[in-house]
């Protein structure tokens, strides 16, 4: 087992990160490999790498296609691309009815429904679904972004379009899912329900795999835990050290459990607001109320965040807070509760849709809160990893008591399939690791 890095190991994080990026670009430039894989922990500068690699390939005169998974990801990438490489001719291939978002209107981005219209562009960006419809075109290079969230059947549809590719993604986040039972394909090396990178690497074991070693998002209080729990064999560190990120709040007025939880999180970067143990339906009314109240309280307390980029402090407004849940129904109920509390601007979303996003403070409804059983869905490490790694300053978890007991009562009992690479980490163990840390920052909310 590899050693786990501490918050401040030897070496300058900026130098470490730059060396990793240079190594990736050198592998790309060498032309020695059909593909290059880059594993990136949360907030490790994945987009920066993609934009830089795109710039270098374009500069070398190579035409490039970029595959992202959602329209939002495509738009975000385009914004970064035109910012960093204003001279680049960039095309966006999109479905009928798509309109450029305000941030891209007036930029050099060319929007078209047909690939033919973008033949002059050095870089063309589209979703995997849109690329699948393109015929009779081929690019010497592709960048596949969020490749761990792409299903291998989606890659099968687009791989005919490129000769070589850079695959970038976060292996710790949610695996792609299917809506039907997929066990019949489990032992196949090209299992269509697996992620694109897993299948790619099983067929091309010699491809170089790089890792970005520094998370610029996670604070020193979170990186060691997230690294140890979710990336046990590929550790990373935080770009900032202890004390470089600060979170201040005005004086507590209510002096209740919510205030106490906010204060604990301000000090330690973590907080657990624990409701009394109880079995509930997915939309647990008390938990929903607690989540919304806690987020509204964060806002009402008038916080200030101080970090390496903002030494003078920035007010913690609603755009810097997010709430993470597991089910759409929970999201809808929390949104409704927030409206009642006058805090409707706070973002609420499911783990799937929070992937790739970043906030200063997050409030999370624990996936196992109030459950009777620990199903594969709720145990999935990616879900907890996404929820516990969106924040730059602090993460507050709301949960019913008794989750460690629930985990003990439901050890992993999934069937083992022959010929399938074991996926790490184990959801059960990762959950225990996170809970053990949270227990040190616990505030009880009496029912």
């Amino acid at each position: 087992m590899t050693t786990v890095p501490t918050g401040r190991a030897a070496g300058d994080p900026a130098a470490l990160a730059a060396a990793a990026t240079d190594a990736v670009l050198a592998d790309l430039g060498s032309g020695a490999h059909r593909g290059v894989v880059v594993d990136s922990p949360p907030g490790a500068g994945k987009s920066t790498l993609v934009v830089r690699a795109a710039g270098e390939l374009a500069q070398a005169g190579e035409r490039l296609m970029i595959v992202a998974q959602t329209n939002n990801q495509v738009d975000d990438l385009l914004v970064r691309l035109v910012q960093d490489h204003p001279a680049l001719t960039v095309g966006r291939l999109s479905a009928t009815g798509y309109r450029l978002p305000p941030a891209l209107v007036g930029t050099s981005v060319l929007n078209a429904e047909k690939a033919e219209a973008l033949d002059a562009c050095a870089v063309v960006v589209a979703t995997a679904a849109k690329w699948a419809l393109v015929q009779d075109r081929r690019w010497p290079w592709a960048i596949v972004d969020e490749a761990y969230q792409m299903r291998s059947d989606a890659l099968l549809l687009v791989a005919r379009l490129f000769d070589r590719a850079l695959f970038v993604g976060d292996p710790g986040q949610l695996d792609p899912f299917a809506t039907v039972d997929t066990s019949r394909w489990h032992s196949l090396s090209y299992d269509p329900s697996q992620s694109a990178v897993v299948v790619l690497r099983r067929h091309n074991p010699d491809l170089p795999v790089h890792r970005l070693p520094v998370s610029w998002r996670l604070p020193a209080s979170a990186a060691p835990l997230v690294s140890e729990a979710f990336y046990p064999f590929t550790p990373f560190r935080s770009g900032t050290g202890p004390g470089e990120r600060l979170l201040h709040f005005g004086a507590a007025r209510e002096h209740d459990a919510y205030d106490a939880a906010v204060d604990v999180a301000a000090k330690s970067g973590w907080g657990l607001l624990e409701l009394p143990a109880r079995f509930t339906a997915a939309a647990d009314e008390e938990a929903v109320h607690a989540v919304a109240t806690l987020a509204a309280r964060l806002l009402a307390r008038g916080g200030t965040t101080i970090g390496e980029r903002t030494p003078d402090g920035v007010p913690l407004d609603a755009s810097r807070i997010a709430i993470g849940v597991s089910h759409r129904e929970q999201r809808a109920r929390v949104e409704s509760a927030l409206r009642d509390l006058g805090a409707a601007e706070i973002v609420v979303d499911t783990a799937n849709r929070l992937q790739g996003r970043e906030f200063d403070v997050t409030v999370v409804l624990h996936p196992l809160s109030g459950r009777r059983d620990a199903t594969e869905f709720h145990l999935e490490t990616g879900r907890l990893c996404v929820l516990a790694s969106r924040h730059r300053h602090a993460c507050l978890v709301v949960a019913r008591a008794g989750i460690p007991d629930l985990l003990d009562a439901h050890p992993t009992a999934d069937p083992v399939h022959l010929g399938v690479p074991v996926s790490f980490p184990d959801g059960w163990e990762a959950n225990q690791a996170v809970l053990a840390e949270l227990a040190r920052h616990r505030v009880a909310l009496s029912g």
């Binding site: 005919r160 299917a178 997929t182 339906a281």
Partner: protein
């Protein structure tokens, strides 16, 4: 589990009587199903022991293997089963209708298709394994088997594959059918036992379901795995059969070697058949009782549409089987076909989810409780409303509908909805607040400048709208097999001969 399903289970547990889980039957039920109750030998990977099979409740055929470990007897059994099943499976291919397809050649679709009913999900797996162990057998050479054997293997494989497509009805487990229609007060695991499940749903007169379920505990199992207590009774019977066969062989030694059974062997075989018949018959009766109960439920409105897909699949398979060039289904699918299979099944699942809730108010109730649908009375209509959408020059009719509802839909503005009562109507949410939902009608009004008559609902109509929409999406264009990209291992090599050529080593044969 939905809130409605949880409530049903609680009620069942409290009253001791199964509760409805659906108001209609969501699977096709054939007028002439074939029931198949299989048993396999304990401790073996796949050694068929017995099958009770037939299309007539009063005339079950019992096929038994007195020594299941004997491979000659095993394939003789498969051939015998094939002689019973193949005429039934092939009988529906003759009568067809011509189906026109947009952008494709018309094809012949059979008017009906076979339907095989097994007691439990284990029966589906039984047919999959049966197909795997028989479809590559050869009818010539060293290990020749009867011609029915590989043919049966291909049919069983088709049935088991098709059973994995959500909403298909060609191969169904009775326990699945019953749990779709009723909930009991026992666990899902216990529901997997046909005897206990049926006791809850259909207890003897005057008895509570929970007591009846307890009373059948310890009885013969529905298989394919046998009851260990039955194994204890079976072991000496098989041993006696082996002894009888050995003794008869010894007697015949020196004279011409005999392969058929003598009187002693036949008696020993009959004892095994009697034991198996007694063990299998209760399950046979239960499956047919289940057919009766399900037949009393009306079929859901979209069941016939899904059965059409089964009939089409049946016709394609039967046509392929008739082609002398066709080969057995491959042992494992290639990269392209695996991806295509997954896509097909996901589309079928989405269609099934949307169609079932439309057909069934009880399932829709669960969706409404989850906030993904609402039912309400239309209190105001602005039928004249016209909107020019962004990027469009001309204004189109977009009537505005205001509903009053006690439901709590959780969808926000911009959500697309479909209507249960008016299947053509398409609408988008403009506003949703407690007690009131405002929609914009966007489809199902014809292409004219004004909505076609009758296409705009009128004040007073009570309608149910849901965000679960059965979208018809065309499957993607998969690459040709020989164009499998390097990311997925490149084009597969030419298929190798399916049966190993060295007859001396049985272990080399392709069994799986």
């Amino acid at each position: 589990m939905s809130a409605i399903a949880a409530l049903g289970r609680l009620r069942a547990a409290a009253t001791g009587a199964a509760q409805p889980a659906a108001t209609v039957r969501h699977r096709h039920l054939s007028a002439r199903p074939l029931v198949l109750v299989p048993y396999v030998l304990a401790g073996e990977a796949f050694a068929p022991l017995a099958v009770l099979v037939g299309t007539d409740r009063d005339r079950p055929h019992l096929l038994a293997v007195p020594q299941p470990r004997d491979r000659d007897r095993r394939f003789a059994h498969a051939a015998e089963l094939g002689r019973l099943l193949l005429p039934y499976l092939g009988a529906f291919a003759a009568e067809t209708e011509t189906i026109e397809r947009r952008g494709d050649d018309p094809y012949e679709r059979s008017l009906d298709a076979p339907q095989v009913l097994v007691p439990t999900a284990g029966g589906v797996e039984y047919l999959r394994l049966l197909g795997r162990s028989t479809r590559f057998r050869r009818t010539d050479g060293e290990f020749a088997v009867a011609e029915e054997v590989p043919l049966l293997g291909r049919w069983s494989t088709w049935l088991a594959d098709r059973a994995g497509v959500p909403g298909s009805s060609v191969l169904l487990a009775m326990t699945d059918l019953l749990t779709q229609a009723w909930v009991t007060g026992q666990s899902a695991l216990e529901d997997g036992d046909l005897a206990a499940l049926l006791a809850w749903i259909d207890p003897p007169a005057g008895q509570r379901g929970d007591r009846a379920a307890r009373a059948v505990e310890g009885g013969p199992t529905a298989g394919p795995a046998t009851d260990p207590a039955f194994d204890e009774r079976l072991v000496p019977l098989i041993a006696a059969f082996d002894e009888a066969v050995a003794a008869e062989r010894a007697e015949a030694a020196g004279a011409e070697a005999r392969t058929d059974l003598g009187p002693r062997g036949r008696d020993a075989e009959q004892a095994i058949r009697d034991a198996l018949a007694a063990e299998l018959m209760p399950t046979w009766d239960r499956v047919w009782r289940g057919v009766e109960l399900l037949g009393a439920l009306p079929a859901g409105g979209s069941v016939a549409g899904r059965w059409e897909a089964d009939r089409a699949s049946y016709s394609f398979f039967a046509a392929d089987l008739a082609d002398p060039e066709s080969r057995p289904q491959p042992r494992v699918p290639g990269a392209v076909s695996a991806a295509a299979q997954l896509a097909t099944r996901e589309r079928a699942q989405a269609r099934l989810d949307a169609e079932q809730v439309r057909d069934d108010p009880l399932l829709m109730a669960a969706v409404r409780l989850a906030g993904e649908a609402f039912r309400g009375g239309l209190i105001a209509v602005d039928a004249e409303r016209m909107v020019a959408e962004p990027g469009k020059k001309t204004a189109r009719p977009r009537p505005m509908l205001t509903f009053a509802t006690d439901d709590e839909p959780l969808f926000g503005p911009g959500t697309d909805l479909a209507c249960v009562e008016r299947p053509d109507a398409k609408a988008r949410v403009l506003e949703a607040e407690p007690g009131r939902v405002v929609l914009e009608l966007r489809g199902g009004m014809g292409g004219g400048k004004a909505p076609k008559p009758g296409s705009v609902p009128e004040v007073g109509e009570v309608l149910c709208w849901t965000s679960l929409i059965a979208e018809f999406r065309r499957g993607p264009d998969w690459p040709a097999v020989e164009d499998t990209p390097w990311t997925h291992g490149g084009p597969p090599p030419e298929p190798e001969p399916e049966v190993a050529s060295d007859p001396d080593d049985d272990a080399l044969e392709e069994w799986s």
